[in-house]
Amino acid sequence: MTTDAHTADQPYLTAKGFCITSGLWLVVATFMGLLGATELIAPDLTENIGWLVFGRIRPIHVNLVLFGFVTPGLLGAAFYYFPRLLRTRIYSDKLGVVTVLLWNLTLVAAVVSLAAGHTQGREYAEMIWPIDMLVVAVFVLVFINLIMTVRQRREPVLYVSVWYVCAAVVLTGATFSLGNVIWQPTSGALVGIPDAILLWFYGHNVFGLLLTPLAAGVAYYVIPRACQSPLYSHTLSLLGFWSLIVVYTHIGTHHLLQVPVPTWLKVISIVDSVAMVIPVMAFLINIWYTARGRLGAIHADIGAKFVFTGTIMYFFVSIQGSMMALPQVQRVTHFNNWVVAHAHVGVLGFAGMIALGGLYYVLPRIAGKPLYSRFLADFQYWMVLIGVVGFTSVLTIAGLVQGHAWLNGETVYRVIPQIHVYYVYRAALGLMIFISAVLGLYNILRTLYFNPGEAR
């Protein structure tokens, strides 16, 4: 991980483009989340405005968070550290900029089509076929750019971050195509129970084969750099990488434990969900031992602070996820807000935090100037941290209220007023996250453009 003349004067246009994309869509995505949360408190707020109905806002929120905020943010960092780790230039910034523009076009098309009610109705696979094609196209373009950069490298050894990003892009290209059933353009679906099995295989791999490896790649880059200490263990890197691919891909059916799917498949998904502690702890021990005794350095760098917090969230969300796959636990937690809380720890607390950390780590280095405002970045850090912890607390409570009331024989309608107050808290916490996203976008733009700081 050294820099030399070959990498020193790059414009990092692709990285820049992905960073701005991420910051921009974070604002839109959190607004959609806030709007949806508000509709659950005041359902007639947007009465009879079809394209703002909750059932259309929700998939827009989810898809924008996954593909508009987190993925581009993590790729922004990757397009910065790939040339540096490989001691070369990025293969083609021209191709990279085209990719970024196409990515944004895809997101706009996704928002417009979902708002208009064009959806395939399958969670995480809602987008209609033409947009699926655009998504596959951008993944192919990203892969070409990255793999060609790898091929022209001057550093013989591939660092673990490079493995993770290459695998994430190629595997997601494959699972996305499979999960969206792209050979069935009209329905985008299989028939009956196998459709659910495929959907959750793909759906869970959005986290397992896209967000997690991309986030791990950023953590593996930022933490050793910020701590200025070598990575703790190459063996753990290997174990974490291969076990992630093997174990994570088996667990999708834990979404279907209460559905008539084959029992052997349920058993596989439960066993592997518990076995997730292997890739999770291999990664975390590696990162945490690298940072051992150097938390001061992490605290000093806002990017590293975001990333390190993200790794702690990863610990919690993964242990929780393993427990939620146990049928006895799931009797209480399934179908209610517990799961929504879990999803937010994973996507915002873990992958989102690390995406923001990657952004704030690479932006000053791309700009060649300090971050426009460390205060704003710190403010965003605390808003997101308080937001996601608070969110998780209130939604977990709401989920427990729902789950236990249902098991006690109460109807869904009877429990709605009981959880109203938690919905109010959730929207308030969402407002904090949204405001900090707006300030974050301002900070990103001011760091890159009109930055009054001195060049270093």
Partner: protein, 310 residues
């Protein structure tokens, strides 16, 4: 292990292929193809309604998947793989922000659904579902047809029952208030008709009844019990005006029975799954005291006073 680009890309793709074979292809190759006893194809209008259900994201809040543990929720039938073999995509859902709809067909008559879709709070005052009147009348009817088909053959049986009793209810309603009340009372089994409300009227009981009335009844019967709630324009026969019940043989038992069991064919749902015994007596007495102005609470025969009575 030396990690080359080839090892990373090809190695991970090979692993993925093996795992997809195991956890995606194998379940598909061994899938259930036997239809369950309730399966039937959906009609064209139901298919159109299903497309609307998908387009408006109903699936995010409503599951269509009854679990074994849902027997505790009052479910009558557990989902089987053979129920879904015509569904593309399958709409199991992942949350119950609203109730499960697997067996929703025939629970209510069509007009109840139109009122509910126009604004869910017209029929269910605490609902947090969005209004979907923006779809327009034709689409609301298609969506209703789809929902009325949920449960397939079981739903068809319930719909037949709804249609039969709707004719009876309309005939009674159109014969005038006296005949209507007589018919309503006659549909209640004899034993219930002569049963007074066994609990004395109390301030606390009326307060409980008031709250329950707001949460469950107000949308149709209106805040003053005259049957002019916001759902009224959509429903036929219209919601009952309680004031006409006075001096026409009403009893606590009749109120209890009708609230518990509902009046199939009309928009009056059953509440036996949502309200326990005391709550039904309380809301019945609230209606009797405030709207009918004639309560038989705590009159003979009343048996031994309950231990909690003041």
């Amino acid at each position: 292990m030396k990690m080359t680009p080839m090892a990373v890309v090809v190695g991970s793709l090979m692993l993925l292929a093996a795992i997809v074979f195991m956890v995606v292809y194998m379940p598909w190759a061994t899938r259930v193809e036997e239809p369950s006893e309730i399966l039937r194809p959906r009609s064209d209008v139901e298919a159109r309604g299903r497309a609307l259900y998908i387009a408006n994201g109903c699936v995010y809040c409503h599951s269509q998947s009854i679990r074994t543990i849902d027997w505790g929720l009052g479910a009558e039938r557990i989902a089987q793989a053979g129920d879904y073999i015509l569904d593309q995509p399958i709409l199991l859902g992942s949350a119950r922000t609203g109730p499960d709809l697997s067996q929703e067909g025939g629970e209510h008559p069509d007009d109840w659904h139109i009122a509910h879709f126009t604004n869910p709070r017209y029929t269910r005052t605490l609902s947090i579902m969005p209004a979907v009147a923006y779809l327009g009348q034709q689409n609301l009817e298609d969506l209703t047809a789809y929902v009325q088909g949920l449960g397939l053959k079981q739903a068809d049986r319930r719909m037949q029952r709804q249609r039969f009793w709707k004719q009876e209810a309309i005939r009674a309603y159109e014969a005038g208030p006296v005949a209507n009340v007589e018919w309503l009372h006659a549909t209640v089994p004899e034993g219930w008709r002569n049963l007074p409300n066994p609990y004395p009227t109390s301030e606390a009981g009326l307060a409980r009844g008031h709250k329950l009335y707001q949460d469950f009844c107000l949308g149709c019967h209106g805040p003053v019990g005259d049957g002019m709630g916001p759902a009224q324009p959509y429903l036929y026969p219209p919601p009952l005006n309680f004031t006409i019940l006075k001096d026409r043989g009403i009893s606590g038992g009749i109120l209890y029975y009708q609230i518990m069991n509902g009046i199939t064919g009309t928009a009056m749902p059953y509440f036996k799954k949502e309200l326990e015994s005391e709550k039904i007596w309380d809301v019945g007495n609230y209606v009797a005291v405030y709207f009918i102005n004639q309560s038989d609470a705590n009159t003979e025969p009343r048996g031994i006073d309950a231990a909690n009575e003041p």
